[in-house]
């Protein structure tokens, strides 16, 4: 900048912008995150607040009339309505069955498919494909395959002399069937996450361990598994949350039956809201589910932190 003739009077330089650099940067930042932030407020925080409010009203969609009832709906769910605890129990069974099964299978697949061999891409694709297929098509096809005597699965079992149950009509088998079919649908996602994590582990670790006399199991247990820790945690959290939110799969395969044997939380909420039009009660249930998932996530994170 050329020096100005000095007059002895200090004036503000004409080139000084109206806003300081810092303010301009801040403005740009807000401009960039603005749309996302607005969307977040309108479509996430907004409904969340609305649900909190609804959960404290007695609001019947048909009657078009809302009355404030305080914590009545929560009281209903937690202490008066035995259905609620049945549903929670079902959700927990579903999660306890699905999460370990899914993770163990995902890890086993990832370990077999993380090396290079002819056809590996084909196998990865095969296991990942269900993740991107429509949940509706998936459920309908499986419902068909799992039919009583005429179902494909039972016909196959009959060939090897096993008399299969009517999978989706007996409460215990129905639960097992929805878990297994859900795992097959979603395991590819976790498999990909594990493959990525395995491939990020330098090969030298394995070589060093082998040279020092570690068996395959020791290499896995003492080197690979600990290094997969962060990935395992992420997978555990998202799979657990996913299992508590499962809805379409249950809706289409069993409709919550038989004898409410597969009636899980998310589906129960749907039923209360959109079949019985009891929006207040459904909202209270949604809040309870929100808290359950939140607590589970925090517990898992805390466990992980204690480990390291």
């Amino acid at each position: 900048m050329p020096a100005k003739p000095t007059t002895g009077i200090v004036t503000q330089d004409a080139s000084t912008p109206w806003l300081t650099l810092k303010m301009r940067e801040a403005m740009e930042a807000w401009l960039f995150i603005g749309p996302t932030l607005a969307g977040f407020l309108i479509f996430f925080i907004g409904p969340l607040i609305a649900v909190v409010w609804y959960s404290m009203t007695e609001w019947n969609l048909l009657a078009q009339q809302a009355t404030f009832v305080g914590l009545d709906n929560y009281d209903d769910a937690l202490f008066r309505n035995p259905d609620f605890w049945l549903v929670v129990r079902n959700s927990v069974i579903f999660a306890l069955g699905l999460v370990p099964f899914n993770m163990a299978l995902a890890l086993a697949l990832a370990i077999s498919l993380s090396r290079r061999f002819v056809g590996v891409v084909f196998f990865r694709t095969v296991f990942f494909a269900p993740v991107v297929t429509s949940a509706v098509a998936w459920a309908i096809v499986w419902k068909f395959l799992l039919q009583g005597e005429a179902g494909f699965v039972n016909q196959m079992l009959a060939h090897i002399g096993i008399n299969g149950p009517n999978w989706l009509r007996e409460p215990d088998w129905a639960m097992a069937a929805v878990i297994v079919t859900r795992v097959i649908k979603m395991v590819g996602l976790n498999m990909i996450l594990y493959i990525a994590a395995l491939q990020a582990i330098p090969r030298d670790y394995e070589a060093a361990a082998r040279l020092e006399g570690a068996s395959n199991w020791q290499i896995f247990r003492l080197v690979i598994w600990p290094l997969l820790g962060p990935t395992t945690l992420v997978i555990m959290v998202i799979t657990t949350i996913g299992s508590f939110k499962v809805f379409d799969h249950i809706y289409l395969m069993t409709g919550g039956g038989p004898e409410n044997g597969t009636l899980v939380l998310a589906f129960y909420i749907y039923k209360q809201g959109f079949e019985f039009f009891d929006v207040g009660y459904a909202s209270a249930l949604a809040m309870i589910m929100f808290v359950i998932v939140m607590v589970l996530t925090l517990v898992q994170l805390a466990l992980r932190r204690r480990d390291t």
Partner: protein, 339 residues
């Protein structure tokens, strides 16, 4: 007795021959350095000795045993990796004790041996740290410590110093040398740094394209390189090579079969024009402190390097180049040494 014998060793990756017939004897307690350009198969050969790559053809003996089919852990070798390969989730203590642990050595003995190794490498104060909390040189030392703890017969090093800065490299080099003196084990060391090779080795193996070009002591390789490749690979700056026709008159000791003559920059002397074995004109002189490196041009147009002590003449000066007769290297057309 832990000698090693490689006989007709070959390695194929698919259709590519990476190691193409290596024969080598390593004596007990010897420090052998594999050196060669990038991609020549040094690491592959080392990993074959360790058992991390299988041997496509040939026979490998460690001591009196043929070990081709012996598991890596049962060969009595320990390896220090270029990447160090320290387990990031374990402390220095657990890293060093890992091998003992998986082999079922009881905790108190493990403790003793780890601490003894740590003491010799001055790692005592670092035992509770994780690898990420160590400097490059410290990691290097832990990697060596981990190898020592297992009390192997043979140590294998794959470019262990290549991730360190120049100063630390010189320091760790001397530590490895003194480690060898103290332990007296057979050691095989891979590098592509010829200074490292020269300073550490009892015996250097020069590799190119999966084949041994020459085996010898550092002095033998420097003073009597067996072929053009070794002549130019060992020594820095590189040996000057000149077609023999470019020299007026006959050189002392020139064999009949020679078609190329080589002379090291440090063996050349500047003289009056016409009094050396060839004349030259100075192009540039690079002052490096202890001496100057002169780039000179011969009448044939070729550029030679001359390491010159003392005052360097200015550019464009005409000079003669002289050399002691014993310092000339003659090579045949094939690249082999001709005398």
């Amino acid at each position: 007795m832990t000698s090693l014998t490689l006989a007709g060793i070959r390695k194929r990756f698919g259709k590519v021959d990476v190691i193409r017939g290596v024969d080598l004897r390593v004596a007990d307690g010897e420090f052998v350095v594999f050196v060669g350009p990038s991609g020549c198969g040094k690491s592959t050969l080392l990993r074959m000795i360790a058992g991390l790559e299988d041997i496509s053809e040939g026979e490998l003996r460690i001591g009196d045993r043929i070990v081709n089919e012996v598991q890596p852990a049962k060969r009595g070798v320990a390896m220090v990796f270029q990447s160090y390969a320290l387990y990031p989730h374990l402390t220095v203590r657990d890293n060093m004790g890992f091998g003992l642990k998986v082999r079922g050595v009881p905790p108190h003995e493990r403790r003793q041996r780890v601490e003894a190794a740590a003491a010799t490498l001055k790692l005592d104060a670092l035992l509770q740290r994780f690898p990420r909390e160590l400097s490059g040189g410290q990691r290097q030392r832990v990697a060596i410590g981990r190898a020592i703890v297992g009390e192997p017969d043979v140590f294998l090093f794959d470019e262990p110093l290549s991730n360190l800065d120049a100063e630390l490299r010189v320091h760790m080099r001397s530590e490895i040398a003194s480690l060898h003196k103290r332990l007296g084990n057979t050691m095989i060391y891979v590098t592509h740094d010829q200074i490292e090779a020269m300073t550490l080795a009892d015996k250097i193996v020069v590799l190119r394209d999966g084949q041994v070009e020459q085996v010898g002591t550092p002095r033998q390789l420097y003073e009597r390189p067996g072929n053009l490749f070794v002549a130019q690979f060992i020594g820095s700056p590189k040996m000057n090579i000149l077609p023999i026709e470019a020299v007026a008159g006959k050189l002392p000791g020139q064999p009949k079969t020679a078609s190329l003559v080589g002379v090291r920059p440090e063996d050349l002397e500047l003289t009056e024009p016409g009094s050396g074995f060839v004349d030259a004109r100075i192009l540039i002189s690079e002052y490096t402190g202890a001496s100057s490196l002169l780039h000179v041009q011969l009448p044939s147009g070729q550029v030679f390097l001359v390491a010159h002590d003392g005052e360097a003449p200015p550019a464009d000066t005409s000079v003669g180049l002289a050399v002691e007769p014993g310092r000339l290297h003659f090579f045949a057309d094939s690249g082999r040494r001709a005398d």
